[in-house]
Symmetry: C2
Subunit: 450 residues, 2 copies
């Protein structure tokens, strides 16, 4: 073979990145395409939304991560469709050919038939989502400081998070801590410690992917932080100033969507059967039926584990393990060393090794499940930190990033509380809200709270 | 007097912030209004544009800075006009009354009659400007990696900075260092070390506010970094793909405007005479003629120093000193202790104490003028650092911020190289550009440069 096979990877989340890294010694040319120029450490995105970390703290340029990998090219582009027959992927009119294709495009927010809710309840998938949520949260505190109508002030000091999975649980704890521990002294009139944080879950318990006892632990720890939790209350309507959940009307100018995801729309262009949430029903080797050189991994794939008979969960570990697996499958396919080995991994199929699940609640609480071990509290939180360290060390040069996070997270306090990229309409509205309150009779600064 | 006088400060740059701080023990109520929720350390904004620092590194929430100052309220709003007769400022329809008004709104970019140039040559005033310049710069490197037309590739690897003042000089040095020292190993095909950085100054020399020998030093140090400098070449046209300067057509997809500023448009609503660049011609006590309770400070004010007979320069030190001065004037006005002292400072007038001027060129060079001392090189750069430390220590709690900067600046390397907030049109264009190049024949990764 004169030409080395070309492996195109679409998406640089955990799945795509670990697939690329696992191919670093393979006799292939890797082209990694992503719509961002950075890999996002998504498990900590909620800390950007809650203004504890800056985007650069949890995002690393993909080129920088792969700078030492000579067989990898990195391209910033948005793939809009796949042409399986022509063996190429497209961005608009321009095609890039592949010999092997690994699709790891991730997921997008799922509003379950109500796309109009997005406007009032942004989701938490990208850096821009998180900075938008951060800006809205901080702007709401700004307005509350001058709002003279008590009901309006309360609505600006209320935060509703829809969805009781790990993202929702972590965000609720983080926002409550900001309001109670970080910013109260910054405000003269509004008492941010009275801010309500309401976490709404449609199902019967929080963290449905974990065991019931972990749900109980999470609930208790959220109560300790004075987060209000509503379970078994499906949200039936979302408005600019709140939601309707389980028949009850709740008022808040800060509604955040963490209730579910669906797979990326580019999967529909593959021309294969889609499973629940638009995920591709892949074969046990993660390939697309009838297209053995096309793989779908991460939360874009729907796969029942042959060993456990359970669906591979759409979490970082699932994506990461699938990425490594398909990289090895490709290496076996093209290996000329030992023909007997060829296809062995494919025949075996992917098996998800469950390393446990966890969720942090604020800065010193968590729930953890590792095998048969299930615990909560400070010890669980230490375990959460240890896992993140372990994953991070996997990247070369990332120890320094981790140190920076720890530094920012514990010793810094100031965080990254910037309101940025407001449109002129948003700015005008905020100006109008704050000045209206001030004009109506600003309290003398020294007569304010306390 | 039952009611304490209300001092409204518009704008929280160095002028507004130091005025507020200087009033901390005064028997007044301070209301500080700014369109952002943070104070921006503008002298380092060019480092955000060159992806060395993250926005949060150089921006601090105003509330956080003033959290200990009990007589100060902070409001986020955009003041659109002043009603001098009614003694109030407006955002839209809503008014806030004042007894004393300190206007410190800063300046905006001046395109000297060519507002249409803004689209292709963004300026450097706000955080959003800097992150836009950063995103465009990084996206240009992305496109260059896959661009097969050598002329187009060269245009993506060229950076034109218009304006040879401190901002232009500092930005030129910083971008050149990114291209040469920071990112070359991240790219396989494009040789970023060949990136051209062209600094264009219409006048006869760089850094016109400094002495000719400093201009010479800056020029030499920029040459050492291989920055191309054109002096005496006014830019006569700006296009999407470059500029025309001194009759010559130069090609670049990264044109940055650092050529000049004009005062904020809200000053025109004061109904008083405006001087050069829309600045308010203030009296020697920084007040507006006929309105002794309204002050204009910083680069919004035009004032000839009574002692030196020179215009007070529109630099941070000028704003900061004016802010402190007007705070003392107000304190004398309202002081009942010693009527003989009242008006003394007003009669004296503001005098600008020149603490020197400086500009950094890259990470280890600078030019400095302090009194009769003028020097360049590494020693000057140390002086630059020392001054920034001095200014920073003035803020309480800011030592930690400085440590973080030093850390990020020297030991980190990774910087903040994120392409964010691209519109869907920008994203589609970039995707199209990179994939077109790749489709036309991606070079095998291992055959690339070197």
């Amino acid at each position: 073979m004169a030409r080395r096979p070309k492996v195109v990877i679409v998406g640089c989340g955990f799945g795509g990145l670990f697939a690329a890294r696992a191919l670093r010694h393979a006799p292939v040319d890797v082209l990694l395409i992503d719509r961002s120029n950075y890999h996002l450490f998504q498990p900590l995105l909620y800390q950007v939304a809650s203004a504890a970390l800056a985007p650069a703290d949890i995002a690393q340029p993909i080129r920088f991560i792969l700078r030492g990998q000579r067989n990898a090219l990195v391209m910033m582009a948005e793939v809009t469709r796949v042409d399986a027959a022509g063996r190429c992927v497209y961005a608009g009119e321009n095609a890039v050919a592949y010999d092997y294709l690994i699709l790891a495009p991730g997921a997008v927010d799922n509003y379950f038939g109500h796309p109009e809710w997005h406007k009032y309840a942004p989701g938490m998938k990208a850096v821009e989502d998180a900075t938008l949520i951060r800006s809205r949260m901080l702007a709401s505190f700004e307005i509350a400081e001058f709002e003279t109508d008590p009901q309006q002030q309360a609505a600006h000091l209320a935060f509703i998070i829809i969805g009781g999975g790990p993202t929702g649980v972590e965000l609720a704890g983080a926002i409550k801590e900001v309001a109670v521990d970080v910013i109260p002294r910054d405000f003269r009139v509004a008492d941010t410690r009275k801010a309500r944080v309401i976490l709404i879950e449609a199902g019967p318990r929080l963290l449905p992917a974990l065991r019931p006892e972990s749900s109980e632990r999470a609930l208790k720890q959220l109560h300790d932080l004075h987060v209000e939790v509503l379970v078994g209350k499906p949200v039936t309507a979302v408005f600019e100033d709140g939601v309707e959940a389980g028949g009850e009307r709740l008022y808040s100018y800060n509604v955040i969507w963490a209730a579910g995801v669906k797979a990326s729309p580019i999967l529909a262009t593959l021309g294969t059967e889609l499973g629940p949430g638009g995920r591709v029903k892949v074969l046990p080797d993660c390939s697309v039926p009838g297209q053995p050189n096309v793989f779908v991994i991460g939360d874009a794939a729907f796969l029942i584990d042959w060993k456990t008979n359970q669906q591979v969960p759409g979490v970082s570990q699932g994506a990461l393990q699938m990425g490594r697996y398909v990289a090895r499958v490709i290496q076996q396919d093209i290996s000329s060393d030992d023909p007997a080995q060829r296809g062995k991994l494919r025949a075996e199929g992917f098996h998800y090794k469950d390393l446990g699940a966890m969720a942090t609640i604020g800065k010193s609480r968590a729930v953890v499940e590792i095998g048969r071990l299930r615990f909560g509290g400070f010890l669980a939180w230490c375990a959460w930190l240890a896992l993140h360290i372990t994953v991070l060390i996997g990247f070369r040069n990332r120890a320094s990033v981790l140190l920076s996070w720890i530094y920012s997270y514990f010793f810094y306090g100031r965080g990254s509380r910037l309101i940025t990229n407001f449109s002129s309409e948003q700015m005008a509205e905020l100006s109008s809200d704050t000045m209206k309150g001030a004009g109506a009779g600003t309290p003398p600064a020294d007569q304010a709270k306390e």
